[in-house]
């Protein structure tokens, strides 16, 4: 426990970066993922193709490679730090999985809902936003919850590109103190501080929605 006291500011800094990267990636991947899910259920062949290619690319390449691509290649053109590169990669990678969850959610909604809304005069976008997506998210919440928890854990990818996150700071502390085991237990506990409330909140949401339905 003296390890934690001695290096508290280091761990706290790492925790802050992990939390920030997780929040940005969570919001970003939800927006992007929903967008690409909608693309895949439109009538346009081009939009469907684009959505499918996006999902297949980012879902089927290891996160580390996407991260290194941004850190080492894209950064030559657009200046970005390891933190930015890692967070962008995490956002894109997770958005591909979220797109699949949301798409499955949309497909589980009776097509009559969209037809009814269109016949009622709503535009495609209005019908999606007000009628289809709220019902799709209700179905998708358990799987979205899994994606979000994975996202927090996957944020440790930042350590590979000097992203100043928990894992990065943990590596430094472990290397300096040689107390590898205790260091990573502390790091693991910090991750729990984010993931446990998150997974509890998702369970709570699930129960809320079940009551409503």
């Amino acid at each position: 426990m003296t390890l934690l006291e001695d290096h508290f500011s280091v761990f706290a800094q790492g925790f802050g970066h992990t939390l920030l990267a997780s929040i940005i990636a969570l919001i970003g991947s939800l927006v992007l993922g929903t967008f690409f899910a909608i693309l895949q259920v439109t009538k346009s062949k081009w939009a469907r193709g684009l959505g499918n290619v996006y999902v297949q690319i980012f879902r089927n390449i290891p996160l580390l490679i996407i991260t290194l691509f941004f850190y080492l290649a894209v950064a030559k053109v657009i200046k970005m730090t390891g933190f930015t590169a890692g967070t962008v990669a995490l956002t894109l990678y997770t958005s591909a999985f979220i797109a699949e969850s949301v798409r499955a959610g949309i497909l589980s909604v009776d097509p009559g809902q969209m037809e009814g809304a269109r016949a009622n005069g709503l535009s495609f976008a209005q019908a999606m936003r007000v009628i289809v997506l709220p019902q799709a998210f209700r179905v998708a919440i358990p799987s979205l919850g899994n994606q979000f928890i994975n996202l927090v854990k996957n944020s440790s990818i930042l350590a590979f590109v000097g992203g100043l996150d928990l894992m990065y700071q943990g590596n430094l502390v472990a290397a300096n103190t040689f107390d590898t085991f205790a260091t990573y237990i502390i790091v693991g506990a910090f991750y729990l501080i984010i993931t446990l409330p998150l997974s509890y909140y998702i369970q709570y949401l699930e129960r809320q929605l079940k009551q409503k339905a």
Partner: protein
């Protein structure tokens, strides 16, 4: 002026010829019933009128808009042409009242107080004012369909399409729905196009009856003439089957 006009309309599903050279003119304020055996293309026809199905060839004019023209904004047509479905298609995530108020708010930008007043009036009219705050899952089929009709009416459309509105209902529910439809036909200048198997309803309210089979219009006649003396042998056969039933 005609509200709906089909000119040599063709519609295919792959190789299947769903609408075969359809010509049809329906005037403003007319009530037209469309009948025919299942698979005759009557549902397809009615769904082309508000663009839920696209046509492959010919011309389809609705409220002056050419539906086959890719530049036509479907949302403008749908604002003026409502539709009631066999399976109601109420918004499952909205209360009965919200189902009625949603489109006027989003599409017409109707002021909220006025929107609510009109919606409550319509609920009164379909006899479900006490169900305003119910979710669709807490309504019976007949109640859902009456809400769906009220939802269409809230847009104050020029034309209203009914696609087998009573086919999915238990027999004891059908009467209430038909009563509401009868009222609409009676006291409005709205154009109504109704696909149904309810011959009693057709006899009572329709100005014209159209008989379809195999994607073609076989007979287009005044209600009295059609029921008293159908010219088409297949229409005769169909009527005798339906009435025996």
């Amino acid at each position: 002026m005609s509200m709906i006009e089909f000119k040599n309309v063709q519609k295919y599903y792959g190789d299947f010829h769903a609408l075969h050279d359809v010509n049809l003119k329906i005037d403003q304020g007319e009530t037209v019933v469309l009948i025919g055996p299942s698979g005759s293309g009557k549902s397809t026809l009615i769904r082309t009128v508000n663009g839920l199905e696209e046509i492959e060839d010919g011309q389809l004019l609705v409220d002056g808009f050419d539906l086959h023209d890719p530049k036509t904004d479907m949302n403008k047509i749908r604002k003026n042409v409502g539709m009631v479905f066999q399976h109601f298609n109420l918004y499952n995530n909205k209360t009965a009242l919200e189902n009625i108020m949603l489109a006027p708010r989003l599409v017409l930008g109707r002021e909220e107080g006025e929107n609510k007043r009109i919606a409550m009036e319509l609920l009164e009219k379909v006899g479900l004012a006490d169900k305003a705050n119910n979710m669709p899952s807490a309504l019976s089929g007949g109640q859902k369909q009456r809400i769906a009709i009220a939802r269409s009416l809230a847009m104050k459309p020029k034309a209203l399409l009914f696609d087998e509105p009573t086919s999915a209902l238990d027999p004891e529910m059908i009467g209430d729905v038909l009563d509401v439809m009868r009222d609409i036909a009676k006291d409005s200048s709205m154009t109504l196009l109704v696909v149904t198997h309810e011959m009693g309803f057709a006899k009572a309210v329709a100005d014209r009856v159209i008989f379809m089979a195999d994607g073609r219009i076989l007979e287009d006649n005044s209600t009295a003439a059609f029921f008293d003396n159908p010219t088409e042998p297949r229409a005769k056969k169909f009527l005798s089957q339906v009435e025996r039933h």
